[in-house]
């Protein structure tokens, strides 16, 4: 049993290291990068952290259901909704988000309908919906931007993300909606875990996998839509799945994986948002993804048990130890 306690301690240690890194990053960014933590940047950084937590937690289930691509399809599918909402309601932030959500939802419904009624596999269905919706979205936004109306400026931020566009009201919205989403996950923890592991068994038990799946898809849509302004449709999938993938390397327990993903997501979202403020018009999405990819790479290399470096060292140690024992006729077979 003590072996598992040691593994648990490792997770807390890792979380402490991440917190320390985040604390060190603030003075580093101030002095080396010349970042000024004014009111705007505080807002942006807070938004990045909150979104990172949210998408890290939600993304774990997408990763475990082997549906990482659904996040990509969702975010791309949201784009035409932004365009349509702008044409209908103008530059109202709430309307844009609702438009994005409706379009993403329709995209997912279409993917599910395609896979249920035809022989098209889900990856192909996601690919075709992603491309079709995104293409329509780009065409629509280009059309809007070519119109003389001045108020359309800034719609392109949805493509790569623009943290600078985030205002205090956005952060409040992210916090409120995020709290509801996390509450839903806590409430339906057992159901989400079961359908991620064995959906047909959930159905056999009467815990309807399609209902639970629809709920999970809904909170994924909500998360993606909230993240669009920050990460953009192209790289939102990274914000969603990268924290989960990195966290998975460090632990074999779902609850620890979700907590770690939240920590990694917060780090990536916050640091990425701050880095994008170093220079004006630097898109936020790519910065966040660079930071998160680094975390994934480090985790895959270093994580005990699964990490590449760990595996290499173990192979070398085994080789040395057993070669020696065989040479000296020491029998260690069980």
């Amino acid at each position: 049993m003590s072996r598992f306690k040691a593994a648990d301690r490792r997770i807390w240690l890792l979380i402490a290291v991440m917190a320390l890194l985040a604390l060190l990053f603030v003075p580093f960014s101030q002095h080396a990068l010349g970042v000024e933590y004014d009111y705007t940047l505080q807002t942006v950084a807070l938004g990045g952290v909150l979104l990172g937590i949210l998408s890290g937690v939600v993304g774990c289930f997408a990763v475990l259901r082997q549906q990482s691509l659904i996040g990509d399809a969702l975010s791309h599918a949201a784009l035409p909704g932004v365009g349509v909402a702008f044409l209908l309601a103008g530059r109202d932030a709430g309307a844009l988000l609702i438009g994005a959500g409706v379009a993403a939802w329709l995209g997912v419904a279409f993917i599910n309908a395609l896979t249920a009624t035809t022989r098209i596999k889900s990856d192909s269905a996601m690919g075709i919906v992603l491309a079709a919706w995104f293409g329509a979205g780009i065409a629509l936004l280009t059309f809007i931007q070519s119109s003389p109306d001045a108020s359309q400026a800034g719609l392109s931020r949805f493509i790569f993300g623009q943290a600078a566009a985030i205002v205090r009201a956005d952060v409040v919205l992210i916090a409120q909606v995020g709290a509801v989403v996390l509450g839903v996950i806590a409430l339906f923890w057992k159901e989400f875990k079961l359908i991620a592991f064995d959906a047909p068994f959930a159905d056999a038990l009467g815990l309807r996998a399609n209902l639970v799946g629809a709920l999970l898809a809904t909170i994924t849509v909500v998360t993606v839509v909230l993240g669009l302004q920050l990460a953009g449709v192209v790289l939102m999938v990274g914000l969603l799945v990268a924290p989960g993938i990195a966290a998975r390397q460090w632990t074999h327990k779902l609850n620890q994986m979700v907590i770690l993903a939240a920590v990694f997501g917060a780090f990536g979202g916050g640091v990425g948002a701050v880095l994008s403020a170093v220079q004006a018009n630097l898109p936020t999405g790519p910065m966040i993804i660079v930071v998160l990819s680094l975390l994934v790479f480090i985790s895959m290399s270093l994580a005990p048990g699964r990490g590449l470096i760990w595996a290499y060292l173990r192979r070398r140690r085994d080789h040395q130890r057993f070669a020696y024992m065989r040479e000296h006729d020491i029998d260690v077979r069980p």
Binding site: F4, R119, K190, L194, P200, A204, G206, L207, R248, K253
Partner: protein, 266 residues
């Protein structure tokens, strides 16, 4: 469930006119089946014969094109608590971040219902099931570290914890070693001994006579179903496997299983 000695055996599982289609092709065609209580029944047939589909259609996991399925006279929806299920081992990702005891407790999620979390009682029940499959010392093991046989026994424990009356098992002997196979057979016999009905999709024709007191031969349509002695015949096997199997029972009275030879070829 108490059964007075003098009453005739009850029918645990009834299938009538069951037809299932995938993409316009029938996977099961007009199946009629009556399985009495307290038997250990093997379901055999070639690949694509609809063996797994029979289980999935019974448990409402795939839509039925026609026909009805009853468990002690009830629909699956009504009889959910009476039914335990062991899916194919390969149907899940064994790299999922969870432990053996957690997987076993999933068998109780249905009884817990929506939103309620498993607690002390569920843990104890799961440990009791692990004891039956001899996996107690693996309770906290991550499932990614299990051997194939241990994975299978974990799934079996998850079904045992359901404390059902009728069990459906999809290839529980697939790719497990001889020792595990023996252990699983022992558990199945014990279930039968307690009056449970166990229906098992099975592939190894050599062991059918040894393991099962009833057998159902399937090849989209029902070939035969009944007591193993009368049903597991060369003729029925030929009908199920399309003449690709010849069966030589040259020691029908000798009783030595080793002399029963199965030739598989074309």
């Amino acid at each position: 469930m108490s059964r007075p000695e003098d009453t005739p055996t009850r029918i645990a599982f009834t299938v009538e006119d069951l037809t299932v289609a995938y993409q316009g092709k029938p996977a099961l065609w007009d199946i009629d089946l009556r399985v009495p209580e307290g038997v250990l029944m093997g379901v055999i047939g070639p690949n694509g014969a609809g063996k797994s589909t029979l289980i999935k259609a019974a448990l409402d996991l795939v839509p039925r094109a026609a026909g009805t399925v009853r468990f002690y006279g009830q629909t699956y929806r009504q009889a959910r608590r009476l039914v335990g299920y062991v899916p194919q081992r390969g149907s899940v990702d064994w790299d999922f971040p969870t432990s053996v005891i957690d997987v076993v407790m999933m068998g109780l999620y249905g009884r817990l219902g929506w939103l309620r979390r498993p607690g002390r009682a569920e843990r104890d029940a799961a440990f009791a099931a692990l004891e039956q499959v001899d996996l107690v010392k693996f309770a906290d093991r991550q499932i990614s570290q299990l051997s194939g046989g241990q994975q299978q026994r974990t799934f079996l424990a998850r079904a045992l914890v359901q404390d059902a009356e009728i069990y459906f098992m999809d290839e529980p002997f697939a790719a497990v070693d001889a020792v595990t196979e023996r252990a699983i057979v022992e558990i199945l016999r014990e279930l039968r001994g307690r009056g449970k009905t166990v229906i098992v999709v099975h592939h190894d024709l050599q062991t059918v006579k040894d393991y099962f007191d009833r057998v159902t031969l399937l090849n989209v349509a029902l070939i035969a179903s009944g007591e193993t002695g009368q049903t597991f015949t060369a003729q029925n096997l030929k009908a199920a496997y399309g003449g690709r199997v010849s069966y030589m029972a040259d020691s029908e009275q000798g009783g030595d299983d080793d002399n029963d030879v199965m030739l598989v070829g074309d």
